[in-house]
Symmetry: C2
Subunit: 152 residues, 2 copies
């Protein structure tokens, strides 16, 4: 079944580029996994933890710890909501914002590498299809994380 290679390729690309990014961001004092959160916080200042979790599909306990660490190390800061005592808004600090262009640059470079040899039309196609696939798996992830087994 050739279709299975879709997910295998996705897994390989994700692991390879994640590993590369973690290694490359060590020079900015970002430890494993931190860049993933920091870049989203920079692009969505004021976001709350729950929205981040939904956006990037990570475990809530991992997110809690990474965000604590990013705050401790001065990359982000958290602000309580004025009305809703349950949520805290996350903002990048100056230090965090200064690193954002490097993360963008690395991400753009990795994208260039990954897309090498693809035409503009193919890039557009693969982008659209992956966006759809991402949306497709989203519901299953939420359900399984909430303890609802998938039936198959």
């Amino acid at each position: 079944m050739a279709d299975e290679n879709v997910l295998r390729s996705i897994g390989v690309i994700a692991r390879a580029l994640d590993s590369i990014a973690n290694i490359e961001f060590k020079q900015f004092d970002l430890t494993r996994g931190q860049y993933l959160y920091l870049v989203r916080v920079c692009e969505h200042p004021g976001i709350i933890q729950e929205r981040l979790i939904e956006m990037i599909k990570v475990d809530r306990t991992s997110a809690s710890r990474v965000i604590q660490k990013l705050e401790k190390n001065g990359f982000i800061m958290r602000q309580a909501d004025e009305v809703n005592k349950k949520i805290k808004h996350i903002f990048p600090t100056d230090k965090g914002q200064r690193i954002y262009p490097q993360i963008k640059r690395e991400n753009d470079y990795s994208t260039t590498v990954a897309l090498q040899g693809l035409s503009s039309a193919q890039i557009k196609t693969v982008t659209q299809l992956l966006t759809k696939m991402s949306a497709n798996v989203s519901a299953d992830w939420e359900g399984v994380k909430k303890g609802q087994p998938r039936q198959y």
Copy 2:
């Protein structure tokens, strides 16, 4: 830059489906990450660790430990090479082989979910493009893992 969404979608799909798989394989006494190795060993009996590492793009120390654990728990067995004392061939045990159909079934189901709404032509296209992208990032991964910084 819309192109950056390619890698973001890939990351989301990979994390979501990996998390789902780890949760679903707990019932087969497979712990986090183990299914990834076991399925490849079942499909490539006799493979050596180095080849597995290249195939799935994981850290060699992680691979060493996961394989040890899989052996300890009776899913695989290792055999020294007759000629080359440095390599060990990895085979699935009966126990390991019995779980293979379940891993395949889960993987097929996840593929079905991910590809929902895509036509056959689109599936073929995205498969081909992802295979190419996977090959594209492979060289960078090997270089960076060997300590060679990327220039950009």
